[in-house]
Symmetry: C2
Subunit: 233 residues, 2 copies
DNA sequence: ATCCGCCAGCTTGGCAACAAGATAGATTTA
DNA sequence: TAAATCTATCTTGTTGCCAAGCTGGCGGAT
């Protein structure tokens, strides 16, 4: 197993160093196997892992090629300006797309964070963040009907949640302590974010509260593709 | 390929839900293959990926077993108190170990950040952070001899770098803007951190400066095992 | 009764042969 | 001549078989 890992390490280094350019063909499995005096299956497994990691893609009958990597966009995590403002500041072609709106079944941690009880209706609103045509983050908000009585009607049209909050009479916001962790995408997230299964996602969880009253407006969960960003904090 | 990913997803979910307990034996490759009506090779590949991800381990002739996962320790990232202070605050059995001290060859970004010139000697000091006997972070500092004239003599004995700075006459520190990204461990990092190759590491890069004079004391690079922590910011 | 060795049957690991897809060039055909 | 087809050869993908390792039970020797 270690042989595979070492080969993966070496190939990643070579790709990053630019020995192989994007869309350039890599050595065939047999060539590499002969070169390193290792079984082809080891090279195969290494190539498969590089595919999962999003570094290369392979085509039967053709060969394996270097995937062109996303640029690393520096992103300011702190401060409570909205995502679109952040991106516009940096001068990126940015758009947002509502991908999902639905009522959720009871989830204790979310209901607890929102400070609502079991009978309350809670809705999930997911927006996909797209930069230069490339989906780079999935922003999911959980909001209660008891705070936003018309959420079930308005929900499907929301693309900027901060804007919606303002139309509902909330002017200034504070965010609770944010929690950061690393997760891998599940099936649907892979499809939506168009990434392979070993792209780590940076998960940022926080609460958004009304500055004046302290009302919890939403539980916010943002999953950023870690291959697209570096974060400044 | 998609079949493998779906199976990996499902098995991870089942492990997290506790369907399979730590050190419990998983179904054999053939059993799962029969159950899901898929080739054994698909199950094999799924199991191999779960090994790389640190969820299971396999023994030839025995079977595959659930790896007991590390607990998720909440860690406060912000503030400029030292790592050991942070951990003591949380009441963890914490120790630190000097794993490496050596002069580095020229690296433009580090030299630039330290604001030193090509002739300067720069040393790398790496400390391994261990909680409850489990290595969870690798803290690497780069410091110049022009700032710490006796660094080449003192270096090997340093375990707390903040303490060393204080002995050198620096009292208060500020940290520059921190940059956060996600990387995978290389060969030596895998060995030191005792983790498999698909454990994402949270890389936190920052500068440490003397509050009074603004002198850049070090470039700091901390690699945290993402399976051991959640981060509060 | 107890111990030891053998063997059958399970497990994961590895490999070689084959399948399938693509391509380039030679060859055939209109 | 030009287009179509065949073929040799390269590529990645798949499969099935056997090796290697472990376990438990059976049976014979002590």
């Amino acid at each position: 197993m270690s042989e595979k890992m070492l080969l993966v390490d070496e190939l990643i280094t070579q790709i990053k160093e630019g020995k192989y350019k994007p869309n350039e063909k890599l050595p065939s499995e047999n060539e590499l196997a002969d070169q390193y005096r290792i079984p082809r299956m080891v090279v195969r497994k290494a190539y498969e892992q590089l595919q999962d990691l999003g570094f290369i893609f392979s085509k039967q009958g053709r060969g394996s090629y270097v995937q062109n990597r996303k640029q690393q966009i520096p992103l300011i995590l702190t401060g409570n300006i909205s995502f679109s403002e952040k991106m516009n500041e940096l001068g990126f072609d940015f758009r947002s797309q509502n991908v999902c709106f639905e009522k959720i079944t009871y989830e204790s941690d979310i209901y607890h964070s929102l400070k609502v009880n079991l009978q309350d209706e809670v809705y999930r609103i997911s927006r996909l963040r797209i930069v230069d045509g490339c989906p780079i983050a999935l922003h999911t908000s959980y909001a209660a009907k008891s705070v936003f009585p018309q959420i079930d009607r308005d929900g499907p049209g929301i693309t900027s949640i901060f804007h919606y909050y303002k139309t509902q009479g909330y002017k200034e916001f504070t965010s609770g302590q944010s929690q950061l962790s690393v997760v891998f995408p599940n099936e649907s997230e892979r499809k939506i974010l168009q990434c392979s299964n070993l792209i780590p996602l940076l998960l940022l969880e926080s609460l958004c509260m009304d500055k004046e009253t302290g009302t919890v407006l939403e539980v916010s969960r943002i999953k950023y593709r870690s291959d697209c960003f570096t974060y400044l904090i």
